[in-house]
Amino acid sequence: MLKKALDGVRVIELGLYIALPLATRMLASLGAEVIKVETLVSPDMMWFAPPYAPGAVQSDYRLLKRNITLDFRKPRGKEILEELVKKTDIFMTNLGGESLTKYGLGFDHIRSLKSDLIILWQTGLGGSGPYAGYKAYGRPMQHASGISMMTGTPETIYEVNVSYADYHTSMFDALAVLGALEWRRRTGQGCLIECPIYEAGVVTMGPAVLDYQANKVLPERRGCRHRYFAPHNVYPCRGEDSWCVIAVTDDREWAAFCDALGNPTWATWPQFATPAERVRNVEELDRLVAKWTSQCAAEEVMNIMQAAGVPAGVVAKGEDLAKSEHLRGHRFFREAKYYTPDLEKPGTRWSVGGTCLVFSEPLYLSKTPARFGQMHKVGQDNNYVYGELLGMSRKEIRKLQRAKILA
């Protein structure tokens, strides 16, 4: 039996999309019992996230979590949720404050149900202030939090083609409840913590924020070049759409870089003699480096550089990651089964969709290893939660199902 870091900790998740489900998945991997409360009366749009068949990438968000159906917007559903909250340690949600209040589930009320409850409320732009209650998703939020204005070329900005700010938020969510759990262990007290996606994104802008105040400098967009290092870029390699990055970050690496290239004459040119000179003459330097890299395979460039002690790496694609011997050795991607909801009647009809590759948590703990498992179908744990935890009879559960309370 594997030891679990969060053995005995119970978490209720009332949330949608990416950040919150990934945070609770992390807690489940660490051994907590996570119960995802879902109502398919208004399904999570992530069931239908492109580009695959519905449900195909849901394993990532749902591994190891128990799943119950509950329409907490109905009075009886709300009562049942309250009973469940009384038996839990941590309550995590990203529903809007207004909707929670509307359903009679305002935080003051939830806290009154259990004095040492830890509540994590993930918001978008924040639960108070001039933008309170504004709508936000992780993808546009990355632009609000500042990263895209420093990503791209001098001419134009680019987006990181994902819900980037969500991922930071998920880790901040998880860290907050772990901190709160530790604090509760010492003090016996619960708490309510709000974690906005906006601020979770802005936290990664720190050095630029200080630079702007101290030096009145806004970050310049330099493509893959660096303000202080050269050569530092993505270089074309032999073959189609094949690239390798090289980053020379000090004089020792510059000497090693020149050695690895067989000390070409240009390496001794005075315009490349110091880091400042190399940055100043980066156009010419990059041209010369690219001339060399374009004769080699990307992997060859990486291996030659790394053997010399120079940071370098291929621009990996899905194929490289799927085939990587290194990642396989870590058992990083693993097969997980997924279920496909019927589009007409989501939640009532399911089929086994197949398997996909799901990441395991990039966190290797020697004594309480992060767990990997399978996703549960929606409502799969109704009998366990309503029957075993809340002590309802089978008959009662069936009645609630018929009344569409468990829906």
Binding site: D60, S148, A180, E182, P311, G313, K317, L321, S366
Partner: protein, 406 residues
């Protein structure tokens, strides 16, 4: 004053920029984090940008940001005296964080098995580019190398163009966030359940891969034989989403639900009068508009060209759409929301003076944490730790200093 979540813990932070954010998170949450720096100072102290553009070990803004709420001692762990002192400190510490190349601490006799023998309650965490094991474990990395090897760079750029890297050296955050989560969980297990410490290993490459999980690069290749390819700034996963030009700059948004599309389409129609946007074929969830990416993008551009970013943001939000501004760091510092909520924390530093720092993204009336002190001066806590805790005299300190131990 907030009651701090991790107050009772002592953390020794041996890491450079690869793990510094982890120590900062633990420190901001209240832990007593001591940076253990070589006598010449952590390498981050020599990384720009510098306040006033002056290269100076106390003026690196890179160092200042990643080391809030920490103390600093100097210690040369490559000398035998330094190693003994480190063993003594680790014997009483709760956590050690390090980011050296795999195998380096073992060569000094300071690896986990050795430190555990003296302190079985120790939690030790390594944050390295590719983890402790496997063929890449000795490979070196800068931010851009982690971004390339994680596949992140395949997400940014124009179709068929050069891959791009995200700005602001983003790979310094995810692995440290995972590490902080792992450490907090390990401390909970130790103190609430088992009494035992453990070893934690985090790979920056893997942490970064999980930060674009929704694009499922490996699954895509296995299922379709395709790799991801960059598609510019507009319409990423399913249009409309991303960044679009407007009358006075840029704005951003995402349409997720079918209702949001209908709301947006009617708003666009009000503004442009163009009936095309109301066509049935565009209605529905994500999949409805993927075949019409170029047309949807063109309609958005036609619409947004008539409105300013501010108008789009405020009016969009009024209509319950996730329309947001595209901010620079200057915009952030002036942002009403961040200012009114007290997100910025003023920290005074003896050399650089007062600056506004981002806090942690947490709001709680009672407990939690926030940056509470600017980054330490080099060796600022030598007397507190060496004399106050290890019992050295000031005279001893001069001897250790002369010997190059501290």
């Amino acid at each position: 004053m907030l009651e701090q979540f991790l107050k009772p813990y002592r953390v020794l932070d041996l890491s450079d920029e690869k793990g510094a954010f982890c120590g900062k998170l633990l420190g901001d949450l209240g832990a007593d984090v001591i940076k253990v720096e070589p006598p010449t100072g952590d390498s981050m102290r020599f990384r720009g940008p510098f306040a006033g553009n002056e290269v100076h070990p106390e003026k690196s803004l890179h160092f200042l940001y990643f080391n809030t709420s920490k103390g600093s001692i100097t210690l040369n762990i490559e000398t035998s005296g330094g190693r003994d002192i480190f063993r003594t400190l680790a014997g009483k510490a709760d956590v050690v964080i390090e980011s050296f190349p795999s195998g380096y601490l073992a060569s000094l006799g300071l690896d986990y098995p050795k430190l555990r023998d003296e302190n079985p309650r120790l939690v030790m965490c390594s944050i390295t580019p590719f983890g402790q094991k496997g063929p890449l474990s000795r490979y070196k990395a800068a931010d851009i190398v982690v971004m390339a090897m994680s596949g992140y760079m395949q997400l940014i750029g124009d179709p068929g163009g050069e891959p791009l890297v995200p700005g602001g050296e983003q790979s310094f955050y995810p692995a440290s966030q995972y590490a902080a989560v792992g450490i907090a969980a390990a401390l909970f297990w130790r103190d609430a359940i088992s009494g035992e410490g453990q070893r934690i290993d985090v790979s920056m490459q893997e942490a970064m891969i999980t930060y674009y999980q929704e694009q499922t690069p490996a699954t895509m290749w296995c299922k379709t034989g395709q790799n991801l390819s960059p598609i510019g700034a507009m319409g990423g996963i399913a249009p409309p989403c991303g960044i679009y030009p407007c009358k006075d700059g840029w704005f951003s948004f995402s349409v997720v639900t079918p209702e949001e599309w209908d709301t947006l389409a009617h708003w666009m129609h009000e503004v442009t009068g163009n009936d095309e946007v109301l066509e049935e074929k565009y209605r529905g969830g994500f999949f409805a508009r993927i075949p019409h990416r170029d047309m949807v993008n063109a309609l958005i551009i036609e619409f947004a060209d008539r409105l300013s970013a501010r108008e789009l943001f405020l009016e969009g939000q009024k209509r319950n759409l996730a329309v947001l501004p595209v901010n620079t760091v200057a915009d952030l510092l002036e942002d009403q929301q961040l200012n009114e909520r007290g997100f910025w924390v003023n920290l005074d530093h003896p050399v650089v003076r007062e600056l506004r720092y981002p806090s942690l993204p947490y709001y709680s009336g009672t407990s939690g944490g926030a940056p509470r002190k600017a980054a330490p001066l080099l060796g600022e806590d030598n007397v507190r730790i060496y004399c106050g805790e290890l019992g050295y005299s000031l005279e001893d300190l001069s001897v250790l200093r002369t010997a190059g131990t501290i």
